[in-house]
């Protein structure tokens, strides 16, 4: 009898485990978990994205060590580099029309790109999440007004806004921080509504869940409910938006530089600026000034986008591909939709004990009324 206990979800495996909570913290980290669970093309896409992103971060961190020259260096010793020199042993990727080393400029360019990502995300994510949480939880007219404002902000062209901010900050031609902040501030105007809408939508969903109601029944205050029960359950789509916004940040900075509102060449490397100066080179057959910064932009954006898109696909069970079922290596378990793992608990002989004796049903007949 003990081996045949009709408790649901007995000797049962997860049908779709959210994240196995007892695996090590390392395996539960957002991206690591996805890499482990993905297969096939989806896994390749995710891995390519991760590699590209890691290369970008590495280059940004170690630019002074990797770059042969400084970003504003025009000469080595007493010898000028010369303008538009083709690739050579001294200058692996040649020099620009202004006489800078292309490879060095491209490597140094990763730093402002990284800074603009950090600045834009920091500026927007906290405000967006907090406002979305409060607005979604309390609802009412404040919520409606905020949603209208957010929708209006979506219509703002971020590049145009970035130009205005760049002019306000430093009159157009600016220092590294001037250019980075111009892009970051204008981006935050567009990104805050994104975080706001996403978090608000999740909060509206989560606050209708029974566990939020049960917190209310217990007598928890709104701050505790939002902080402990709602917020953490509403952030699952944030990594996705974050990665997609990273690529948007890089593109905006490059656009500013290309239009001449970016960072001065003497203050930092700037891919957009280099691209704009190489426009005339392209028609005269000089490829080496345009391709490296262009590739840098493309690969950085591609890396972030691939990570974001893969995370999106993997988060959705309908889009996620799985390893095919193998007839050979079957474990003796049965699936339950939304089922539950119940392995043996120390000190408990059988699951029967967990469910408790059912003697009230069996004992003394006389108690039937």
């Amino acid at each position: 009898m003990a081996d045949l206990i009709p408790e649901t979800g007995l000797v049962v495996a997860h049908a779709t485990p959210p994240t196995p909570e007892h695996t090590s913290l390392w395996k539960r980290l957002p991206v690591v978990h996805q890499v482990r669970t993905s297969v096939g093309l989806q896994r390749t896409m995710l891995l390519v994205g991760i590699v590209l992103t890691l290369v970008f971060l590495f280059v940004a961190a170690f630019a002074p060590l990797l770059a042969p020259y400084g970003y504003a260096q025009l000469s080595s010793g007493d010898v000028n580099f010369g303008a538009q020199q083709p690739p050579s042993a001294e200058h692996w990727l040649g020099t620009t029309v202004g006489g800078y080393d292309v490879l060095s400029r491209t490597i140094w360019g990763a730093r402002p790109a990284f800074l603009v990502i950090v600045a834009a995300v920091v500026l927007s994510i906290f405000i967006g999440v907090v406002v979305g949480l409060v607005s979604g939880y309390f609802g009412g007219w404040v919520d409606r007004v905020l949603v209208v404002i957010a929708d209006a902000l979506f219509a703002f062209p971020s590049l145009l806004l970035a130009i205005v901010v760049a002019i306000v900050i430093s009159g157009g031609q600016s220092s590294m921080w001037g250019g980075v902040m111009a892009a970051a501030i204008s981006l935050s105007v567009v990104m805050i509504p994104q975080y706001f809408r996403v978090v608000r939508a999740e909060v509206v969903r989560v606050k209708a869940e029974a566990f939020v109601e049960s917190a209310r029944v217990i007598g928890s205050g709104p701050v505790r409910i939002m902080g402990r029960h709602v917020l953490r359950n509403s952030t699952r789509t944030l990594p996705l938006i974050l990665t997609l916004n990273c690529s948007e940040a890089v593109l905006t900075l490059a656009g500013l530089g290309f239009l001449g509102f970016g960072i001065e060449p003497t203050k930092a490397g700037d891919w957009g600026y280099d691209l704009s100066r190489s426009l005339s080179d392209v028609t005269s057959g000089i490829w080496w000034t345009a391709v490296p910064p262009g590739l840098a932009i493309v690969l950085t954006v591609l890396g972030a986008t691939l990570v974001g898109e893969s995370l999106n696909d993997l988060a959705d069970p309908r889009l996620r591909t799985r390893r095919a079922a193998k007839a050979a290596a079957l474990s003796p378990v049965t699936a339950v939709p939304g089922g539950v793992a119940t392995d043996r608990v120390p000190g408990v002989e059988s699951i029967d004990e967990l469910e408790g004796p059912s003697d009230l049903f069996d004992d003394d007949e006389g108690l039937r009324s």
Binding site: T37, A210, E213, V217, N233, A324, V340, S358
Partner: protein
């Protein structure tokens, strides 16, 4: 008699994130034409997967082996569904076997008229004019008992009631005159009075259309009412197959016996009359003179209408009293206002008019600040144990939450001894406290939910359909535990349920709600033994009992009631 379906050694496994899992292991099953075969079992036993295989409806992650031979109604063709692909499979679906889904409100497309949706099946298999298709749709709607089909054929799904929608889904399955209809929990989403109507319709199908039915259900009452033969599934295997009378009168397999024992019956054994004093069991006495824990007088709860729609009165002038230590069962169908009353007592829904006193606090226009201290003395058990726990907190943290909120413990760790004590009381091992909610089964979660509701030692517990999301044997255990704890701790309880048998098991007094009005109230024997109000009588007659012989007699009573009422 020929077999419509012949399943031989069917095995199905699924690829999931945690590896391959087997859902069906070696099922062999035959369905004769015109026969009603019920597949019973608990969630996860593989009954739905088995039935869906007959139509080739499994997801891509499934790996199937074995043979499923489906024969056309006129015997002209036999196909092995497992090997069919693409167009061949589509040709079989609808014509040889059709499906009736559980939830009629989601099985119909809301943007098309029902007649068009019925005709869609016809168009998929035959070339015919719109006029003919429409005529056939009207015919089949009339057959399933939709009044005024010529007019109603152009209506959209939202213009029909839940029971009518299920009739339309059945019409959709019938229109191609298939030899087999697979009904996957066809009445689970419906109220008990509507369920009786749908069961009546389903019973006519084999006689009038010659279709066999594969009925998937967990409700033994439905099985007793409808089935000719029963297959009991457990863990992906069929443990017992027998005709319905043999199965109910002499179940062979221990699992079947256990399943049948666990089904609550009206007028069956009761748990409520027991109090444990030491090891002795004594009859529970409710002191009628004590100050009531909950006292409602002419209680009204109105949901304001939106966009010029009229207001909806959910609760309309209800008087009720719950005394200390008493279990009041509140019964009603969906929309009767039973959950609204429970929520109002817990302070989740504001009341509109009348008076509701909870622990002496008047709830009409109550301020949260006034009510906060009272919350400590109220416990609440929610219907769905899967969603009533924050998935990111451990069970111990969830159970400790009330103590932390009311300042009785600075953090969940400090509350742990008390949590362990409660876990023991609900018969969960202490180690489960460190697990996350999704790592527990439904019954275990509902125990934890009970622990959370009881940790502050409330004088009043509101249980809103606490067992309706659970399988029947798990339900029996949870109810058992519930009765035990109630007897030991002596809290008053409002037990809300749509299931008369469950309420009869636990409640000292039963109140029947119908459309926001309290139609009948009294002890279990009064209300269920000799119901006075016609609605209660109808409710009671609609409830299928897990006994084919008795159910046949009850069906007659029900038919008479329906004919006269």
């Amino acid at each position: 008699m020929t077999n419509v379906v012949d399943i031989t050694d069917l095995r199905v496994s699924f690829a999931t994130d945690s590896g391959t899992v087997r859902a069906v292991e070696g099922v062999t099953l035959q369905v004769a034409s015109g026969e009603v075969l019920a597949i019973v079992g608990e969630s996860g036993s593989g009954k739905t997967v088995t039935a869906r295989t007959i139509l080739g409806l499994l997801p891509e992650t499934a790996l199937t082996s074995g043979a499923v031979l489906l024969t056309r109604k006129d015997g002209s063709a036999t196909h092995d569904i497992v090997t069919l692909r693409g167009n061949d499979l589509r040709d079989v679906r609808g014509r040889d076997a059709a499906m009736v889904f559980q939830e009629p409100s989601t099985a119909l497309n809301p943007v098309f008229p029902v007649g068009w949706q019925i005709a869609e099946g016809l168009r998929a298999h035959r070339k015919l004019s719109d006029k003919d298709a429409r005529a056939q749709a009207i015919d089949v709607l009339r057959l399933v008992g939709i009044p005024d089909p010529e007019h109603r054929v152009d209506h959209y799904p939202h213009q029909f009631s839940g029971g009518q929608k299920q009739r339309i889904v059945i019409a959709q399955a019938l229109v191609l005159d298939p030899g087999l209809i697979i009904a996957d929990e066809p009445t689970t989403a419906l109220d008990v009075t509507v369920q009786a109507e749908i069961l009546d319709l389903l019973r006519r199908l084999p006689q009038e259309f010659g279709s066999a039915i594969v009925l998937i259900t967990h409700n033994m009452g439905v099985v007793a009412d409808l089935a000719d033969r029963v297959a009991v599934m457990y863990n992906g295997e069929i443990v017992e197959q027998a005709d319905v009378h043999t199965l109910f009168s002499a179940p062979q397999h221990p699992y079947t016996r256990r399943l049948l024992d666990a089904v609550p019956r009206v007028g069956g054994r009761r748990l409520r009359d027991r109090v444990r004093v030491g090891d002795e069991l004594e009859a529970m006495v409710v002191d009628d003179s004590a100050t009531p824990v909950v006292e409602a007088k002419d209680l009204r709860i109105v949901y304001p209408g939106r966009l010029r729609q009229p207001d909806f009165t959910a609760v309309d002038g209800v008087d009720l009293v719950i005394r200390p230590g008493e279990v009041l069962g509140l019964v009603g169908e969906s929309g009767s206002g039973k959950t609204t009353i429970g929520r109002a007592i817990a302070g989740l829904t504001p009341i509109s008019d009348g008076s509701l006193k909870v622990h002496g606090v008047e709830m009409l226009r109550v301020k949260e600040k006034t009510f906060r201290p009272v919350r400590k003395r109220i416990g609440f058990v929610f219907q769905d144990p899967a969603t009533s726990f924050n998935p990111l907190l451990t069970i111990a943290q969830c159970v400790a939450e009330p103590m932390v909120v009311h300042g009785l413990a600075p953090n969940p760790q400090e509350a742990r001894p008390k949590v362990d004590e409660l876990m023991e009381a609900v018969q969960l091992p202490k180690a489960f406290g460190d697990r996350f909610p999704h790592e527990l089964s439904g019954g275990q979660r509902q125990r934890a939910s009970l622990a959370r509701a009881l940790i502050l030692g409330p004088e009043l517990l509101i249980a809103d359909e606490p067992t309706s999301a659970l399988d029947v044997s798990v339900q029996a255990r949870v109810l058992d535990l519930f009765a035990r704890l109630q007897a030991e701790l002596g809290f008053a309880c409002l037990f809300i349920s749509h299931d008369l048998a469950v309420v009869d098991l636990l409640a000292h007094r039963i109140a029947v709600l119908h459309r926001g009005v309290l139609v009948e109230e009294g002890t279990g024997d009064e209300v269920l033994g000799a119901p006075k109000h016609p609605y209660t009588q109808r409710l009671l007659a609609s409830l299928p009992v897990p006994d084919p012989v008795e159910q046949a007699a009850r069906r007659e009573t029900w038919r008479n009631l329906r004919a006269h009422g």
